[in-house]
Symmetry: C2
Subunit: 280 residues, 2 copies
Amino acid sequence: MIATMAETNDRRDAAAQWFVALRDRICGEFEAIEAEAGSTARFVRNDWERPDGGGGTTAIMKGRVFEKVGVNVSVVHGEFAPEFRGEIPGTAEDPRFWAAGVSLVSHPCSPLVPAAHMNTRHIVTGKAWFGGGADLTPIYPDEPAAGDFHAALKAACDGYAPDAYAQYKKWCDDYFFLPHRGEPRGAGGIFFDYLEGGDIDRDFAFVRAVGEAFLAAYALIVRARMGQSWTDEQRRHQLVRRGRYAEFNLLYDRGTRFGLKTGGNVEAILMSLPPEAAWP
Amino acid sequence: MIATMAETNDRRDAAAQWFVALRDRICGEFEAIEAEAGSTARFVRNDWERPDGGGGTTAIMKGRVFEKVGVNVSVVHGEFAPEFRGEIPGTAEDPRFWAAGVSLVSHPCSPLVPAAHMNTRHIVTGKAWFGGGADLTPIYPDEPAAGDFHAALKAACDGYAPDAYAQYKKWCDDYFFLPHRGEPRGAGGIFFDYLEGGDIDRDFAFVRAVGEAFLAAYALIVRARMGQSWTDEQRRHQLVRRGRYAEFNLLYDRGTRFGLKTGGNVEAILMSLPPEAAWP
């Protein structure tokens, strides 16, 4: 891995810097949205260190539009425990890894504003690859929002490969599904991992395009809906749907379960959980 | 297994009847508590069938004292899928099983009234055994409640075996623990499984004693606290503690994860989740 890590040092730095830059732009945009709603809410940042190496920053804002939105950036390194070797590409002979990424989960106050999730990451083991995705979770079916969100992601995918959107949309649909409920977590989006397109600079450019597409599309969706009023009944329905969101993340989400089992930062991992939820 | 099942037919019937009888007494006692609080809340029963064999009844009450309390009885049978064979005693040569039990989860309205969980069960494979337990989850530390609860369970255990309480208390402490938080789910209780004391009628008598001890002790704890008023701040703290409860059940609880993976009744399994929870 040493050779690989040396070769990819520049890309690792560039990826880590871009994750931070995207975080800053997202936080700036979402704080601007709060200001438009007459709120002075700001992200509060909390740095954390990972005992085995590296660390990150969790930024959380609780506002008038975003009941709770968290954006986490991390750059971590270490060795995979024996139980995880073999599950992760490039770890069979050398358990060391380096990983960086940015992830976001937004739980808006309004049941009429969809929740959203975005993650992009760069992993280096004996191999090096990018992964990521973005998906939308309307509380009530919202065809226009889902349509705009998917169209933005499709445009990013179309610049990468002709079949990318269809493939990554299906991966998202398969992944964000609650088998015990027989229902999807939301309206889907895209999900991809182990990108090895042969030209890792193109892969990185694609990941950046996904991040940009998410930010632009989601900000539009939020702004178009944040002024609408809602009823107590809609709020109660939102809490029940958020219960399903918590079920998915705690029962099935790979990142959540893997992170908690490998000593990850609990607050950073569980920032995805909804501020309030109900199982009436 | 046929021989074993024939031999245990009478005990299976007796166990299944006792689980139902305990359910009826619990529901009666909890409805009486609601009446004492001036509420007319009653348990609402919902029968369900398990596609692979058997079924059960989920009884849920939403009242003035109990924000949500569920009592589930089930008698199910079938065959374990290959992935579970070998994990369960007596299934290596014959995958068939029969299982019955009663389980209860109580989430009171008041942050000053502890939540509680109780389960007793009888399983028949190539072997036959009883299991169960009861544990208390105060929202705020409540030494008197925990002390009374443990004393009642200890009395039941002491009638079974001298070391039973110490052993089953430790099993409960080890089981109801959130490793990612480094904290217990609550104030503990007892947990036991695979009881094979050599005299299964004694095991059954012990399980009945546990059910009786739980009902008597918990009803006293609820009645002593249900009249106290609480603050909004205490309610918010309750919602956060309930989030931890949901984390445990979805991330770690064997029954929850096993049930959902084996096509169990979703509403019956997830009745354990709190009516409202928060991750602020």
